[in-house]
């Protein structure tokens, strides 16, 4: 009997020791996961946004060299890409994309991702970041912005203006135009008068 008792004691003490050291599933740990069977989990290949000792700057993802253009990216000096008439610095008045319901829906979605935090859902400059110290956010219903050409707005989105950073790296070219299309609907909605509303829809207005 004594043997059994000590046998169980050893097992229980052992189990408690293992649990004490190893903890439970889901416990927080600062140490990287143990890879019990390493197999070929980590291969000497380069993954995006990781470090690499192969290059002197330590970056695995390479920055495009000056004067080169990544495959599949826009490179032509066209209104679509620059917002300016080809070969000039004059902004295009109207966007080079056809306005469709699809483009407007896309613009609304993209606006809400990238612009809404500061400019607000209504584009009146009352985004949530105002509470946190973004002091100067443009009200996009200001006359100076409403009267800007589409091309000039495109340039602002792409390269930024004053304290606003450029979004050229974050938002694709077509999406920037879609955002402008959505912004125009917001501006138009604010400037609208009763005469703009079709007769059969007026009853629904408050």
């Amino acid at each position: 009997m004594r043997y059994w008792l000590s046998f169980f004691l050893v097992i229980i003490v052992g189990a408690i020791a293992v649990i004490g050291i190893a903890g439970f599933q889901g416990g927080k740990s600062r140490k990287p996961p143990i890879e019990i069977f390493p197999d070929m989990d980590r291969q000497p290949k380069i993954r995006p946004q990781t470090g690499s000792s192969f290059f002197s700057d330590g970056k695995a993802s390479r920055v495009a060299l000056l004067g080169t253009i990544a495959r599949g990216s826009h490179y032509l000096d066209t209104p679509l890409v620059t917002g300016q008439l080809t070969g000039s610095t004059n902004f295009v008045d109207v966007m080079p994309l056809a306005i469709t319901a699809k483009l407007l829906a896309r613009g609304r979605e993209r606006y809400q991702i990238s612009c809404l935090p500061c400019h607000g859902a209504l584009a009146d400059g009352n985004g949530i970041t105002k509470k946190y110290g973004m002091a100067v956010v443009a009200n996009l219903h200001d006359k100076r912005i409403v009267t800007q050409t589409d091309g000039e707005l495109f340039k602002t989105i792409t390269h930024g203006k004053n304290l606003m950073g450029g979004y050229g790296a974050n938002i694709a070219i077509e999406d920037r135009w879609a955002i402008i299309a959505h912004l125009r609907t917001l501006q138009l909605a604010r400037l609208g008068i009763l005469a703009d509303v079709p007769l059969d829809r007026r009853a629904g207005l408050k």
Binding site: F7, I11, G14, A15, V18, A22, Q25, G26, G27, K28, S29, R30, K31, P32, P33, I34, E35, I36, D39, M40, D41, R42, Q43, K45, R47, P48, Q49, T50, G51, D57, K59, V63, Q112, I113, S114, P117, C118, I128, T129, Y132, G133, M134, A135, V136, L163, M164, G165, G166, Y167, A169, N170, I171
Partner: protein
Amino acid sequence: MSDIFPRWTNKLPLRLLLGVLIVGSVATAGVTYYFTPKYTRVGYQPIQPVPFPHSVHADQLGLDCRYCHNGVEQSWYSNLPSANTCMNCHNQVLSADPRLALVRDSFQTGQPISWVQIHKTPDYVYFNHSVHVNRGVSCVHCHGPVDKMDEVYHAKSLSMSFCLDCHRDPASKIRPPEEVYNLNWVPPENFAKDKGAKFVHDWKVNASQNCSACHR
């Protein structure tokens, strides 16, 4: 013969068998519990070079995941933002805060911040973010409630069986595309049966269980 084998040896085989059984089952239980990504990976919470709180940015401010992870819809990996993106706000908000010193340095020099990667599939697993988020699989399924995390930790096991649970029954996890980045979305009752199955059919969701779907 009793001199060689004393009386207690009669019970020895039985005792040995019992002992081996008990030790064996305890060891099996231990291996089952500990030798799994549910233990080895879940809960990994490294100290990041900049203490970026997703809870403040995604939950409190309500930023869309794609404000920063802007390539996730086109790319197989979900990109980290460059310091450029941070500085869109932090050139004014907390613009002198010491916690953001590395971000400002990175913005000036172009040298990226050495974030510590938390979710790492093995190198022979080719997980594609874009096909998942574009077909109604939300961030929250694999990454947990990131928008509520002050410091990001590994929330799900991301083991092979974890992937297959969903690939065998995609309708149970799929959601409307406009709710993919809304981590707090709760499916209405019977959603999986009514709408989920329809999505899987209409969008031709091919949640392949072929080895080569993920392993190459």
